[in-house]
Symmetry: D2
Subunit: 478 residues, 4 copies
């Protein structure tokens, strides 16, 4: 049966010979047993298991039009508005499982692939484009419940406004050859989240100035010459008392190096076609569909933050203060606003050029303006409410050896010392551990540079009717 | 036919002998010809005329269940979700007519009265309560297309936290007697917007500590002993070039003085019943229904601000700057957010205890947290974009006598001097004239003290499920 | 005696035949009797009278090195640090007289002229430069206690980034001819504050791309062909109860049109010298000296705002609320910060290339980053604290005809209705009347575009030592 | 010679038998070799060594009036304004050594003790007060160059407004007995920063409701019954490449438990005197003197942040962007503002009731309003500028094993991969590691609850002159 179990997922990743380099060593044994990946792979496995949970089976899977077997809901192409609702509910179920802390749970990339496949028609009859390769890969991924990571951005060498990269030195990955077997790629790309613990790596280059830069393809993670170079791990340790979140949900970010990697032709979606490289993402429903999934996740995350904050408010009994109430209300406002925008995007969904239904894009663009600004304020709220409680955090071992002092002296209005510290450690791991701060940075930049996102909305939003109204008013035609 | 025309409205108000005192003089002639009221009454008349406009007739009126004639849509009681949509569209039509600048267009008070009448059952069999009076008045208002103003708040004497008013000196209006004719009321209340240009004054006292304070009634504006004491008028002048907004939409705010006013018993809805005084508003759909109308208006206003800002951006050609784009996008974000919350309130509408359908209250409460904070930033945006253009604003007469200098030297990228100044004067009148700043203050406090609104949302919002999720997570039951 | 009296000032201005056009009419009678100028000219006259006040004589004047008579302190060239203290105290005295609300009290322009004159050496031996003309004019102004206005900016036609003005159409003032008598100037400049009520107009063009644009000169306000085109007046009326500020301190902003104005050679400081046009202002102590004066004024203004806010807090008795205290503290923080920066600029004063002592420029640049952002928040604070009190503002006439209702019902904790409304009207005129909002706009842009000011500070501030410290640290050399 | 060396410091602390419990174990060997304390103790030792540095000897020490030997400058009592300058320079030297990251470098507590000793006279002839004990201890500390920690706050059990602690259960430390030897103390206090690595623990209870709570004393860290219970250590590891800051400057925060600790009478400064407990801190120059030291440290820290930010800006070459410049300027503004306030506090220093000179308190109170709000924004700035660079941070070991990929692909405009990552790791450790976020929390709460600090300034700041000015103005007496 197509939808896999958690165990199948782990087994499959372990079986790959992916080149993962971390902390000066290449991972040799089972990835799933490496401290940097163990927790998150188990959390990911849980997602696959949910697909087999009787209560959720129907909402997390649907019947494949090809195999007639049940496949993952995030692969569902959207032919009617109800499909959006179904997709949203499935995304929410998965997000609830990790409280929105796994930004690259497989449904994100599945949605990406579904969006691109739904727009495959755009590639038809264009030079160096292979819509069939894309559709085949989509079906292959869906029927095998593959996991993917991706890299969309180039290394951050020189961010000056008018900088064009030196042609001689290859840093950003580019095509350096074409053989009968496929494209030869050399260079690096940033930042593959979950790099190394997925089946495949999807690569789409955009904004290409040079034709070498325009390409789109997917390759198995253990393709020869492909290397995932990891940052320091932010797993704080195995104790879920000490590190309730990083022990479970820390998704690695890896630099991807292509060392003359050969991409087989059947996996090339397009190459050396600037028009396509520049437009395919925008023409496709990539942004609309992924943002629709992202919002579901961010809503679950906001709910979790609200729960954490309120737990702290309750345990030290500060709920009567107006300034405390105002801070909690800020989170509520964010939560309800995000929910409202998600609903609106469905209510105002429209049929696209390829016959599929897309959630309303501007509505979702608005949401992605808000969250990157608001999410960091949650840290501020937690610090202002938690105060010294976020510094009084002895470890699990300390409580293990406690002679009663910690339990007694760290007690709060509602809880004994251990229960109280548990809550504060959770708040701390959410916002102040290196895992937590990476989450903040991640949400800030989830959909790219906020300044650019703002410009994009400015350019695409239809302001004409409002200008017209003002002009009519000034002409006394109101 | 019940729905009246603009002319009928003006005639009816002019016929009243309402005591209106302004700038040291009592208005003696026709109110509709007084400079402080002329413009706004014409704008209000236009609203009534729209009800007779063939294109809008169906969306602005419905068939009265009593008279079988068409009555104003804002009186419609909500028995199904579609009614909310219909009501929203009607509210929007009226708001478009004044670009959301008339906060007390008649539909606001009609909605208030409808909400109270729909909850009349709550008053049944309670001491000193007269649900029939309320229902009768609702029908009377609906069938005669009455206009109302209201006063909900007490004079701002001493806002200390633990202050209880001196019993000896009457400042806030209270019951000072009961006769066979009715209640006798003495004292003052704040702030009747449109006071003096409506048929009726609706009074509801809330938060009563003393039983004298608890009452609800409506009386004609020209009831004996009733006085409307006006603030300075913010009409800048009659020229719609110089004062495009205040010449049309300036709604007066009046202090209402009750000089032993007798409220006839048939107009008393309740009195001397603390429980009712404290709870009736909350039990009724007052907040939910009026906020639903208010949002429609605020959305139309936000659209207008967006139009004004973009007109300025275009005329001086600054749209390519990122910081300009970001400012415009802030308005777009507000607009789409408000629209999303309004839709959500309808989508999540529920049947209330009295059998009517109410828009989702928490969703609307969220909206009213946002707008009072965001609206004032529009002034900031306009000042930062308009800069010296907001100081270079010669008057209509100046242009009338222009020998070409103004037209030439004040030209912009798109417009000649006069056209350009027109736009800047509009932006100025919207945010920097005394009319404009009063609009800002009005939106800040539209639904009362923001600090209190925040506390109310904190108290009513159901945070339990989120606390529960955190507790489950901490117990490893996630 | 050089320092003049208020009456002498008024007489001299009235005697000029300055072309002032306002509201479609050219001012024909005495300027000092025109409603738009009367109040501010009286306030300005008061400044001159203060120079003769026995108690202030010594601090507001000094002995001219030329005439040996007492001249205005704002003309004092700075040869020692104590001179800065003396200048600061004089600036403060004048600012206290109008509570910092007159941004163009004569000391601002006197300081400008002093700064330029002190750097006259820079012009020496440069083509088309006349340092003697500048020095002569400085002495002439000082010995005659002249008042000046100025225009530094060009009309706001097209603010696109890469826009270069059309050569054919003259909008910004430029040199159109040279005769034996002088330079011929045609075009317009913005925005002469106090335009029309000063003896002279000082013009300095900066940032010139074209050589025609580079010039600096001063001419009498009634020079032939020179026209001051006024915006609408923001004087609300003559009643100081109704308009306590605009009745006294409203400084007009005028567009200045040069209609083939001939600037006599002896009044030309430089022309057609791009290097000088681009650098003279920066080389001179213009920014440092004027900012030193400006800070003194802004400090007096901040104190006034603090007084107004606290008066309102006291009258309605809300001082016990933490959120109220926080708002007042924001003003205190601004006040003390500005005072600290002013002191630091004196403490760190240095001798410049011309032998004069200059207050520390970066310190003052920092202050001018802060105030334009903070000042607008004062409006917010006043609106949030004043609330409905800012809407309940009957006029002086209303109180004049009051039968006791206003006095009684508008009473507050500390004051009867009239006293209370007086305070609220003051707060309103400071921030919400068209006078008040222009003040806000004025402070936002006092020293030019805040974005540009920020870039200038970035470029000029010496960050090297801090980078060096970090590099040493990274090399373990800390 | 009184001023000790680093080695002497380490030896002395190692020799103490202080009970330090961390991560479930009691420290048994040398504290200075424990991973949680090693780095910070070496950094602290460096401070002592600086006292012997020839170049700094004179500025870091002065001649003891008692022993005639050189003692630490932070013990200097202030009898003239110059002493403040000297103290400031010494504080700066020490702060530069750790870039302001050690909030509890010994001079902070030395200053505290000096401030209390200088006000010892206040204790004279008051019941249960021993000014001589305080003076003796001050001299003892000075002559032996002691280090101290302290605890001022009580456990965070119930922060409800009107909560009074249960009398039965002892949580906050209180007097539970008096013997001939001394006071017996039981309970806990928060949060001793550097707890365990200082010679002494100074305890001052304030805001006592109950007389048992009022006491002040100092005891050696290894007093019987005294326990320091540590939070989790935030030392990331020993590599200064990976953890440039936490490897050096992580100051532990410990809960202090008093298990029937006997405080010898000669070390008791006061007890059971509510008036003294409530007022002594305020009457003394504690706040003024310590804030004067704190500002010096915060200034050094701000400079370091500026250096770090600019290094990042330079390495990825983004300095030409206006929004980047604005962010850097925000830091510059903070830096110059803090410097200005520090100078002002010295310029306006006054003699206190005990004959010593105190820096101006309100000025310093203003500074402490600003920094806790601004410091957290530095994290935001670093995240917005650093972006993906803060996620691309391989470890020292990774670079050690690098085959060239990391060096090449992580290169920036100015640096090779390793140099570039070094800078980003520094920025990350400063703001995003658990060390960095604790720094942020620490600065937020350095001087206590910001809301309370704001109320204190409101209450103490003299606003009368400004109210008076407004009243005079309204009476036309301006």
């Amino acid at each position: 049966m197509p939808v896999i179990t958690g165990q199948q997922y782990i087994k499959r990743i372990d079986a790959l010979q992916t080149h993962i380099s971390i902390d000066g060593a290449v991972v040799t044994g089972k990835v799933s047993e490496h401290p940097a990946f163990k927790g998150v792979m188990q959390s990911q496995a849980k997602l696959f298991d949910l697909q087999h949970d009787e209560a959720l089976h129907d909402s997390l899977t649907y019947v494949s039009p090809k195999s007639n077997e049940r496949v993952g809901m995030s692969f569902l192409q959207v032919t009617k508005v109800e499909d959006l609702v179904t997709r949203r509910q499935a995304a929410r179920e998965w997000a609830l499982s990790n409280h929105g802390l796994m930004g690259r749970s497989p449904d994100y990339m599945n949605t990406t692939l579904m969006a691109l496949a739904s727009a495959a028609e755009y590639l038809k009859d264009k030079p160096n484009c292979f819509p069939d390769h894309l559709l085949n890969f989509y079906e292959y991924a869906r029927e095998n419940d593959l996991t993917m990571t991706h890299t969309f951005i180039e290394p951050q060498v020189n961010r000056q406004r008018y900088h064009y990269e030196d042609e001689e030195v290859i840093i950003a990955a580019k095509i350096v050859g074409k053989t009968t077997q496929g494209l030869v790629i050399k260079g690096a790309r940033l930042l593959a989240t979950q790099g190394g613990i997925t089946d495949e790596l999807l690569v789409l280059s955009t904004n290409g100035f040079d034709k070498e830069k325009g390409f789109g393809f997917s390759i198995p993670s253990d393709t020869k010459g492909l290397k995932f170079l990891c940052r320091q791990s932010f797993v704080g340790g195995e104790s879920t008392f000490d590190h309730p979140l990083s022990a479970r949900f820390e998704e690695m970010d890896a630099i991807v190096v292509f060392d003359d990697v050969v991409v087989p032709w059947e996996r090339v979606f397009y190459y050396e076609n600037n028009e396509v490289a520049n437009n395919f993402m925008n023409v496709s429903g990539f942004q609309a569909y992924t943002l629709h999934q992202v919002l579901s996740r961010q809503i679950a995350k906001t709910e979790f933050v609200l729960g954490v904050v309120q737990s702290i408010v309750n345990t030290i009994n500060i709920g009567e203060y107006q300034h405390v109430q105002q801070k909690v209300v800020e989170i509520i406002v964010t939560l309800e606003t995000m929910k409202a925008l998600l609903l609106k995007s469905e209510l105002e969904a429209k049929r696209d050029d390829f016959g599929y239904i897309r959630p309303d894009h501007p509505t979702l663009q608005v949401a992605i303006q808000i969250f990157p600004k608001v999410y960091p304020t949650f840290t501020e709220i937690i610090q202002l409410l938690g105060a010294s409680g976020l510094m009084s955090i002895p470890s699990e071992k300390a409580f293990g050896a406690d002679d009663g002092d910690l339990e007694h002296y760290l007690q709060s209005f509602r809880d004994g010392g251990e229960e109280r510290v548990k809550k504060f450690r959770l708040a701390w791991d959410l916002t102040m551990s290196s895992f937590g701060t990476r989450q903040t940075l991640y949400e800030r930049y989830f959909f790219g540079d906020p300044v650019r996102l703002s410009s994009l909305l400015y350019q695409s939003y239809n302001r004409e009717p409002f200008i017209q109204r003002v002009e009519n008013f000034l002409k006394n035609k109101d």
